[in-house]
Symmetry: C2
Subunit: 365 residues, 2 copies
């Protein structure tokens, strides 16, 4: 196998699998797709300019790299089958929890095949699913975590890392336990926090029908994730239970510390905790590529068709890229406030463009 | 005093006070402004077409309605002074916590003046401050809660309610304790939850510098509020300590229940809690005016100047009003996903317009 494998097998033809197939085709690989549903595998193959395989065995036979892109519960068995049906391929997966998958694969696969399994987690995708929404651009510049298992052969890890970089993603190597612990804090805990808050408000609303009348933008931000898929999330939470329980414990500790400060009237305790969080949040950029230098502008826009279009149009004409845009409504509509994030180097020209078109921007950060 | 008072005194010339002054001028009232900073009072008067008063006494003397629009810690004393310096006026305030303000006013004001105090909380404003950012539109259609105190005269409550409605806001009457309990759930708890999550991630990041590299859109949504003003929030939390402690307790209970489900492997427990929250979140509209019928479309847009402009322009040209728009970035940029909320009755035409301009919308909800 060269550092840019020319034979790639994609097992599972959902959004991620098909997007990886398309990114591999883009760099000249010969790609085969397989899926438990032949029609889906065919759709993926058509979209990626790949060949469709009639079985998992014929998909992975002769491959240099196999990517298993299946739901987390189906992943270990497919990885084990792909290892058995291939001889030299490095086999990777895309599941969002790593330790549990690695343990299950170790119990299912032949010991001699384990060195070829290098687990991974591309941190991309979207809420859309299916090959019809796939795109090579889903892979562009995303963080693709590689979490070598105890038995992973270092040469295979190096090769997969080079291959991932060649596809256009950014490989980041870390241990499975560390990956699982970090995503527990930045992905799984936020989901749990959002679901718990929305569930609490829903219960309270049963006795207080006016509760959500008073809910403004902040409440909406905090509960947006609560609309996520219950079945998908129960799989993820169960597969990463230990790390999630630890994250919840630390979170509850912080909530209780603020509660104690409030009940004891400790102004300094509250202010220092809020100041720490504020500083950290201002450092967290809209996007990591511009972490060091973003600016946030606030603009009031009338709530009518075309108002937002004019705002975004004048910025586009002026060559200002919108890094992020958030509409913050008044509780009862009629008027919208937009929080616009641009690169700090664009802030002055964005403000000038907006002011010259009768918008009235205020720089918030 | 008629149902539309013609003499209005605004004590405090920040964003809210000045906006109320402008809304009162708009409906023909004679308005006087006063502020501890004479230059600010002058700016507010100029903006609202009001007269500036040289003292609090000359501001409120002869007024039919006095609105004290000051920071929460300064509010009780100013309310007591306004009651003392006026004879017939109904005096209201705008503080975001009511019971503590009512208690403090009762301790400071003459007993005979208390019937004229009718506490209130306009649920509007923005992160901007100062008279220069004020606008009568800040008051348009907002929920303006009135929380009669034990001593408030019902006639004064009725008059203030009519006056608030006449300004363009939507008066909602409830008890002080109920207001404080509800805002604890939908405003104060979300703030505490966001600050605690960001503080936890900041602490974890100290030992794990790659933590925030893995943080995607969900984490950003949950922590946006954490950038709020520490001094302002410590005042609010301390003034509503009991209700906030209760809300934190109930929230922690829910987090721990999910934690127990996860550790015990209870799939049904997790899924039912997620399903309850999902259902409630989908019912919570982008804006209450369209609560019963919004649709959310997801669209992938290239991350370059003008891309968002094209999307919003074609919708504006097609007469579709954008109720909400959220950019969901991939962790490393290069591509953006937009979640677009429109009235459900506009969903089909929005999708058609977008499709005919080479966007590829997917309806999420």
């Amino acid at each position: 196998m060269t550092s840019t494998p020319s034979n790639v097998a994609i097992v599972g033809s959902g959004l991620i699998g098909t997007s990886v197939a398309m990114a591999a085709s883009r760099v000249g690989a010969r790609v085969k797709t397989w899926d438990i549903d032949p029609a889906v595998a065919r759709a993926a193959a058509d979209r990626a300019g790949a060949k469709v395989a009639g079985s998992l065995g014929s998909c992975v036979g002769g491959a240099d790299v196999v990517v298993v892109a299946a739901p987390i519960s189906a992943t270990p068995k497919l990885v084990a089958e792909a290892l058995e049906a291939s001889s030299d391929a490095v086999v990777t997966d895309v599941a969002s929890v790593k330790s549990a998958v690695i343990d299950d694969v170790a119990g299912l696969a032949a010991r001699g095949d384990l060195p070829r399994f290098v687990p991974g987690h591309p941190m991309g995708g979207s809420e859309r699913s299916g090959p019809e929404h796939a795109s090579a651009s889903v892979i562009d510049a995303i963080v693709w975590v590689l979490t070598p298992a105890p038995n992973s052969d270092p040469d295979h890890v190096d090769r997969l890392e080079a291959w991932v970089g060649n596809l256009g993603a950014r490989p980041v190597r870390m241990s499975p336990a560390r990956h699982d612990r970090l995503v527990a804090f930045v992905s799984h805990l936020p989901q749990v926090a959002s679901t718990a808050l929305m569930g609490l408000a829903a219960t309270e609303e049963a006795g207080e029908p006016e509760l959500l009348l008073l809910a403004a933008g902040g409440f909406r931000d905090l509960t947006r994730l609560a609309a996520s898929n219950p079945a998908l999330w129960s799989q993820i939470l169960l597969a990463n239970g230990g790390a999630i329980a630890e994250a919840i414990d630390l979170y509850v500790e912080r909530l209780n510390a603020l509660r104690e400060d409030v009940l004891a009237g400790r102004v300094e305790g509250i202010e220092s905790k809020f100041a720490e969080a504020k500083e950290a949040r201002l450092k967290l950029a809209a996007k990591p590529t511009v972490r060091a230098g973003v600016a946030v502008l606030q603009i009031v826009v009338p709530d009518r068709p075309g108002a937002l279009a004019q705002l975004t149009a004048v910025l586009g004409e002026g060559g200002v890229n919108i890094e992020d845009l958030q509409i913050v409504h008044s509780p009862e509509g009629g008027r919208g406030t937009v929080h616009l994030t641009v690169a700090a180097s664009d802030a002055a020209s964005a403000a000038e463009i907006l002011s010259s078109h009768a918008f009235d921007p205020t720089r918030l950060a």
